[in-house]
């Protein structure tokens, strides 16, 4: 019984890993980047990698006051829930998108210039994700500051 349970779990785990589709995630990320560009954002970079359930990846980025950032995490078809959480340089929580979807988006205008930690966490499923980061000028009518 134990052996069968182990085998079933092992098959499920490795099947999920092998089906994780980097190309789908990348394709979705490029489409997202195009949509961001259409909204006036300049795309800076699109790093990505594989993430297992409940694992995360953190990118440190220097963000400027007076610039707004569109930060979007996009997962492949095996990702069910991806979260993007932003911390300041002291690792204090700033803002997040923790909705239940394979896409998480944060429109973030930092009040202070400095290093921020942008964490993408796999909350459901397992697979590849890409983090699309774009920036645009701060316009008071469309933006709000975050502490």
């Amino acid at each position: 019984m134990k052996k069968i349970t182990f085998i079933v779990f092992a098959i499920a785990f490795f099947t999920q890993l092998s089906f994780a589709d980097r190309h789908t995630a990348h394709y979705r990320a490029i489409e997202t980047a195009n949509q961001l560009e259409a909204k006036g954002f300049s795309i800076h970079s699109i790093p990505g990698r594989h993430l297992r359930y409940n694992h995360y990846r953190t990118y440190n980025r220097f963000l400027y006051r007076g610039t707004c950032y569109g930060i979007i995490g996009v997962g492949d078809q095996y990702v069910r829930d991806l979260d993007v959480i932003i911390y300041d340089k002291y690792w204090r929580y700033v803002t997040a998108d923790t909705g239940s979807s394979h896409v998480s988006a944060v429109d973030f205008c930092p009040r202070h210039t400095g290093m921020y930690h942008i964490r993408t966490r796999m909350r459901g499923g397992s697979g590849y994700f890409y983090q699309v980061i774009g920036h645009r000028g701060y316009t008071p009518a469309y933006s709000r500051y975050y502490y």
Partner: protein, 270 residues
């Protein structure tokens, strides 16, 4: 009894898993921070983001007057050329923001010349696709399509760094970033020197970024033999020294002048 025990164990374990990572909206614990610091990856900001922020802080600035002319013949090694390429990329972002057609065309011609001369694995960095992109860029500059120009500069810079990465030349990617950062920062300081706004000088407090660049320059083995590495380290250290004297997240006019003095060395290399 055994079955019940296993069931309870699995139940408790699954509840623990579902709550373990659910700390959104809360700050991290000390242990989590230590763990996160060791696994996180630092990425350089774009000069485009800096110039956006400067436009918000200083208003419209004619950046063209702070930019030096390019003389491609003075660059000897590949590293020299890549350092200058990074700096000229930053110039291009700033000139796009001030919609300076004539200077931007001069800079794009310089970038084209540099790309022709940089060779990776015996192949020029200026391949056919890149030449076509530069041609399109020039056309858009002349037509004043500034959003498109900014997009093209962005994609050009990212694709060049991708080429460095793919050809196992991470030291060139680093030099491209260092050149871009120092030139962008120099222009920002020039802007504050011209229009001093004490409350906006927080944007120049980029100590974490300088520490990151210093660390990367020091540990890169290939750059140990590059003649300008020690000068670049000195510029960064001197800038950091001035920044460490800042008070209340602001810099005085004297400190801005000191920064400018330290940064002007870069003009000899780009």
């Amino acid at each position: 009894m055994k079955k019940l025990f296993i069931f309870l164990f699995l139940l408790v374990f699954s509840i623990h898993l579902s709550y373990a990572g659910n700390n959104e909206g809360k700050n991290l614990t000390k242990a989590e921070i230590t763990e996160a610091m060791s696994s996180s990856i630092s990425e350089m900001p774009s000069a485009g983001a800096l110039v956006n922020a400067l436009t918000y802080s200083l208003g419209s600035v004619q950046w063209g007057k702070f930019i030096t002319k390019i003389d491609i013949r003075r660059y000897k090694s590949v590293e020299d050329k890549v350092l200058a390429l990074g700096a000229r990329g930053a110039d291009a972002y700033f000139l796009t923001k001030s919609k300076d057609t004539s200077n931007l065309i001069a800079v794009s011609v310089g970038i084209n010349g540099l790309l022709n001369k940089i060779k990776l694995d015996n192949k020029s960095l200026n391949n056919r696709a890149r030449k076509a992109k530069l041609g399109k860029l020039k056309k858009w500059i002349k037509k004043g399509r500034w959003t498109g120009v900014q997009k093209e500069i962005n994609s050009l810079q990212n694709s060049i760094n991708d080429d460095f990465r793919n050809s196992n030349s991470k030291h060139l990617e680093l030099l491209n970033n260092v050149g871009g950062w120092i030139e962008g920062y120099r222009l920002a300081v020039e802007g504050f020197n011209q229009t001093y706004k004490k409350e906006e000088t927080e944007i120049l407090l980029q100590k974490e970024l300088i520490d990151y660049l210093l660390k990367e320059l020091r540990i890169n083995k290939k750059l140990k033999y590059f003649s300008k590495t020690s000068s670049l380290l000195k510029i960064l250290k001197d800038v950091n020294n001035v920044l460490s004297k800042s008070k209340n997240y602001q810099l005085s006019k004297k400190q801005i002048e000191d920064l400018l003095k330290n940064l002007s060395t870069i003009k000899q290399y780009i």
